[in-house]
């Protein structure tokens, strides 16, 4: 049932995981990359649509394919089985995954924030809409408003426009002064893609507003219009979709399940990307939101470190230091404004899975109390969405990774018992 205890297992098939797995496998070590998605690439290199993949993506995907690393898509880790062993689930059933070393490259998800009407169909995450369209959802001719914060908004707008969407507005909550400083810094950096995006190569004529954010979405059974707040006052925009995301937050469920220490919201790692647990490494967004270049760099360092190629790893340290600086610039530029904590009405749903409203949560004093008293965070997503909301709105400590990390089918959990009894 288990493969081999001499295998380096990489969890997550985005840039960090791909780079890590390629570096490990190229050095002759048995390597398996496991990802929840049907295809390799993670969120940022997800294929689909009319845009050819970035050169860099093609380079790394080819390198991974030639490296000899095994790939297992459509597979999620649902629990750990003692030391150096995990329980995985897929359409094919359950599976025990043993590892000699583990590299966690679990990536990030979008931060969603509640406002009246955010649960109406066609109010979606920003990268979420891009992912849905890459999966084949129709977008040509649809009017899309894009809102929230971060460079992702511009990337999403660019992509959707090329697929035929009509971008009616891009609303960035950050102030113009910070965006100007940010783009000035980008000009002297190697982030070519973002430079192009910021120069508006594909966004000519699109209405862009800074210091602007959504305050209500309206529609009978589906989204019809969105009301925005800006310095000049309130205004409404008619649209078919609102694609709205307030930056990225790291996926810490699996690192926490394994016991990795988390500092200030990110997995703590040493110079080799090793976590507080021996033989468990972490790279990419779980260690800091820094984008592709940072993730590729840290992924390679983790990969080289697991196979003892410390000189190669060390050669990448200067690039990683630049990446860390960029993380700080991102965090400063797109820091969320306090007004975003005041958007909910009493009846606004905060926990989407269990329909728990703002007025029921407001009197609570902790995440634990909220869970016990209201079932907030106890639904299907296990607090993945509302946990980050609660952290932002009420500053509650939300660190809940209890197995199963994902809702697992009963047979998976029963299978775990069987495995352990053997």
């Amino acid at each position: 049932m288990s493969d081999s205890a001499n295998t380096v297992v990489v969890i997550g098939g985005g840039p960090a995981g791909i780079a890590a797995a390629a570096c490990v496998a190229e050095n002759g070590a048995s390597t398996v990359l496991i990802d929840d998605n049907p295809r390799l690439g993670g969120q940022i290199w997800r294929s689909g649509g009319k845009i050819p993949q970035a050169k860099e993506a093609g380079h790394w995907l080819n390198r991974f394919m030639r490296s000899g690393a095994k790939l297992q898509c459509g597979t999620r880790i649902v629990d750990r089985l003692g030391t150096k062993s995990l329980l995985a689930e897929s359409d094919r059933g359950i599976q025990r995954v043993d590892y000699s070393q583990l590299i966690l490259a679990t990536g990030a998800r979008e931060r969603l924030l509640p406002f009246p009407g955010w649960t109406i169909p066609n109010v979606v995450a920003a990268g979420g809409l891009q992912a849905l369209v890459k999966g084949g959802a129709p977008i040509a001719g649809k009017r899309v408003a894009i809102a929230g914060s971060g460079p992702l908004l511009l990337a999403v707008a660019t992509y959707l426009r090329l697929q035929g969407a009509v971008i009616v507005l891009i609303a960035e909550q950050a102030p113009w002064s910070r965006l100007v400083r940010f783009s000035a810094k980008l000009k002297s950096s190697p982030h070519k893609l973002w430079q192009a995006i910021l120069m508006g190569v594909h966004l000519r004529g699109v209405r862009f507003k800074s210091s602007c954010w959504p305050i209500a979405a309206r529609g009978e059974s589906v989204l019809e219009q969105v009301e925005f707040q800006s310095k000049q006052g309130r205004f409404s925009v008619a649209c078919d979709y609102l694609a709205c995301g307030f930056g990225l937050i790291p996926n810490l469920e699996l690192p926490r399940l394994i016991g990795c220490e988390v500092h200030n919201g990110f997995v703590a790692v040493d110079e080799w990307q090793q976590t507080s647990i021996d033989d468990v490494y972490c790279a990419g967004e779980p260690t800091g939101i820094g984008g592709i270049d940072s993730a590729l760099c840290a992924g390679q360092i983790a990969g080289f470190a697991t196979v003892g190629r410390k000189e190669e790893a060390r050669g990448l340290f200067p690039a990683r230091t630049r990446g860390k600086k960029f993380e700080e610039t991102l965090a400063f530029t797109f820091a969320l404004r306090p007004e975003l904590r005041q958007l909910c009405q009493p009846e606004t749903v905060v926990c989407r899975c269990e329909d728990v409203t703002y007025e029921r949560l407001q009197p609570m004093t902790s995440w634990r109390e909220a869970k016990l008293q209201t079932r907030c965070g106890m639904g299907a997503c296990q607090g993945r969405t509302c946990g980050a909301v609660a952290e932002f709105l009420w500053h509650w400590q939300v660190a809940s990774a209890r197995p199963p990390v994902f809702p697992a089918r009963v047979e998976s959990l029963a299978g775990k018992t069987l495995t352990l009894e053997k």
Partner: protein
């Protein structure tokens, strides 16, 4: 042209391009909301990456399948809330 396959959505035959996700097929069929919350509110896909669980449908009799992570296959029977 991508190859076309047929699936059924709530009993109705729908022809969709092969390789698209179940979420995309349901949206292509004209629906926006596909899952009902505990209080009965209709919800549509949100995160597109398997995190939010708002796009859950029943596929070939298996409930709570995240449609954004599932690729359509010929003959698939998809059942979404209405």
């Amino acid at each position: 042209m991508p190859n076309l396959i047929q699936v059924t959505i709530n009993g109705q035959a729908v022809t969709v391009p092969g390789g698209i996700t179940v979420a995309a097929a349901v949206l292509l069929s004209g629906k926006s909301g596909i899952h009902r919350s505990p209080s009965g509110a209709l919800r549509g896909p949100v995160c597109g990456m398997g995190v939010c669980f708002e796009c859950r449908v029943t596929v070939n009799g298996r409930a709570h399948v995240r449609s954004c992570l599932t690729t359509c296959e010929a003959g698939m029977e998809i059942s979404a809330d209405e």
